[in-house]
Amino acid sequence: MAVEVAEEIRATGTLAPTAAFLARRRWVDRTMRGLLAVAASLSIFVTLGIVWVLVSESLVFFRHVSLVEFLTDTEWTPLFANPRFGILPLLAGTVTVSAIALLVAIPCGTVLAIYLSEFASYRAREVIKPVLELLAGVPTVVFGYFALLVVTPTLRIFLPDISGFNMLSPGLVMGVMILPYVVSLSEDAMRAVPNSLREGAYALGYTRLQTGLRVVVPAAFSGITAAYLLGMARAVGETMVVAIAAGQNPKFTFNPLEGAATITAYIVQVSLGDVPHGSIGYQSIFAAGLVLFVFTLFFNLVGFILRRRFREVY
């Protein structure tokens, strides 16, 4: 390219761009733009494909089960001789376990992120961050058995009434599991806050804690919300831990001491079992999946609105 340009300059005797040179640049620019657009639309098409599968398969399910029954019945027994199709027990399980996980991960994660970004020395940060990342690398099935075989027996010392399968134990373990995501993203957001804001706060007489809580956290709010949302999405979609430690018995309860199935646990149970393809039991997993999808979509929307409302520019 450089050689060609040099030749052109020599031939024309001027540095002014030739028509051929401009045309070539335009062509490269347009081609690259096209390639990038294809890459970008790929993700949209995959998402649309997933939605299409979920919706079309769910429509088959809803031909047999009314939407009202699906949303109001409190029993979920699709594989029984006398099947009932109320999503509420599964939803209750998902909500309870996720809520426990978030109750652990959000406060701990936020505090840890503030510590890492505002207080920790360089050396402390160099130790804590890799350890946290290690936590994120543990396979979820290990977390599941940890909940079942270590956390549940330990909880039993303090709560003798707790069932062997319960929602508290996987909830707590899941909280620890998603902690690294919440910490890492929140800390990134806080560290992206320019030092000029911190200096402004210190110059006014803010302490480190006041600077962190009153200036850095509000300034990083949008990134911190994204961290919470990712943590929530991971909690809601998590399968292994709950399938192992919460049991697979759908029960309409919010009591964390009891066992219950979540939406994901039900889906994995049916997909691994011998339910015939095309049966109503088989179709029910798509309806359950659609509920999960709508659930996360709803929270993503809430997060989007929150971020827009509290967006801070610096």
């Binding site: 360089y122 402004g200 006014l204 007489g205 801070e312």
Partner: protein, 279 residues
């Protein structure tokens, strides 16, 4: 310090040659910097700086980029403590009580709570206009709404911003223009009534009109505050200050009344710098 006649009266010092008590060159000393050196880790950035800061006057610090004038200013409120490995030597004595600002025994919160600062780039907090100005008062424990309202209005008026924002105090500070944001930062620094106001090139990011606004403002604030301003703009130093210190390579080359420093500098280096021969 040959050009400085020190007539000590407690902490009162008169600056300037044959300055009569009514002249603007006769002032009490608010801060005495004595043999101040400073290191960024292993790199020394200030060498044995000794100079006074006059009370209720504007002291300008000038010099080429990297000469240490901003580093010097940031010693006054211990801003360097925020980053590890920095070290001070010498003394910065704050009058009337005579505490040494840079002593390791002094809690850096003491100078920060008594000295306000405005930075090169406007850095309003991600809060409303009102809350930005009230921020310094709130962390000093003031919760009384009437007092906050009064002090916010007073500070915004002193920063010549009140008329432009009085109808939208709840709007985000980021909705303001750059010049307005800088005046907001001045109001934020003034609200807790600091004894000294440090200005670190406060107009370098602003257009000429906004700059003129702020220069006017500094001239008015001189009646109530001791002001130290770092500027790379020599005309600005000549326009708004009564005293000037010229820094070069971490050393204070010359200090004196602004008029004298700009018309009859004692050092050839000062002469060369103010006439544009280097820098």
């Amino acid at each position: 310090m040959t050009a400085m006649d020190k007539a000590r009266d407690g902490y009162t010092v008169t600056l300037g040659r044959a300055a009569d008590p009514g002249s603007e060159f006769a002032a009490r000393v608010k801060v005495e910097v004595e043999g101040l050196s400073f290191w960024y880790g292993g790199k020394q950035a200030l060498f044995d700086v000794t100079m006074p800061i006059a009370e209720r006057r504007v002291t300008a610090l000038i010099g080429p980029s990297g000469c240490g004038k901003s580093t010097f200013l940031r010693c006054f409120n211990r801003m360097h403590d925020l980053y590890p490995g920095n070290r001070y030597a010498g003394r910065i004595v704050l009058h009337p009580d005579g505490i040494d600002i840079v002593s390791p025994k002094t809690d850096p919160m003491i100078p920060r709570l008594r000295i306000g600062m405005v930075f090169q780039k406007p850095n309003p907090f991600p809060k409303s206009i009102y809350e930005n100005v009230a921020a310094g008062l709130r962390i000093r424990g003031i919760r009384d709404r009437a007092l906050l309202d009064e002090q916010v209005e007073k500070s915004l008026r002193r920063a010549a911003l009140w008329d432009e924002v009085k109808d939208r105090l709840d709007a985000s500070a980021y909705d303001l223009s750059g010049g307005q944001q800088q005046r907001l930062c001045i109001a934020r620094a003034l609200a807790p009534e600091p004894e000294i106001l440090l200005l670190d090139e406060p107009t370098s990011a602003l257009d000429p009109i906004a700059t003129a606004h702020i220069e006017e403002l500094i001239d008015e604030l001189r009646a109530e505050y001791t002001i130290v301003i770092v500027t790379h703009n020599m005309q600005q130093a000549a326009r708004i200050s009564q005293f000037t210190g010229f820094f070069h390579l971490g050393r204070l080359v010359e200090f004196g009344p602004t008029q004298q420093l700009f018309t009859r500098p004692r050092e050839t280096m000062t002469q060369d710098y103010i006439t544009g021969r280097f820098g």
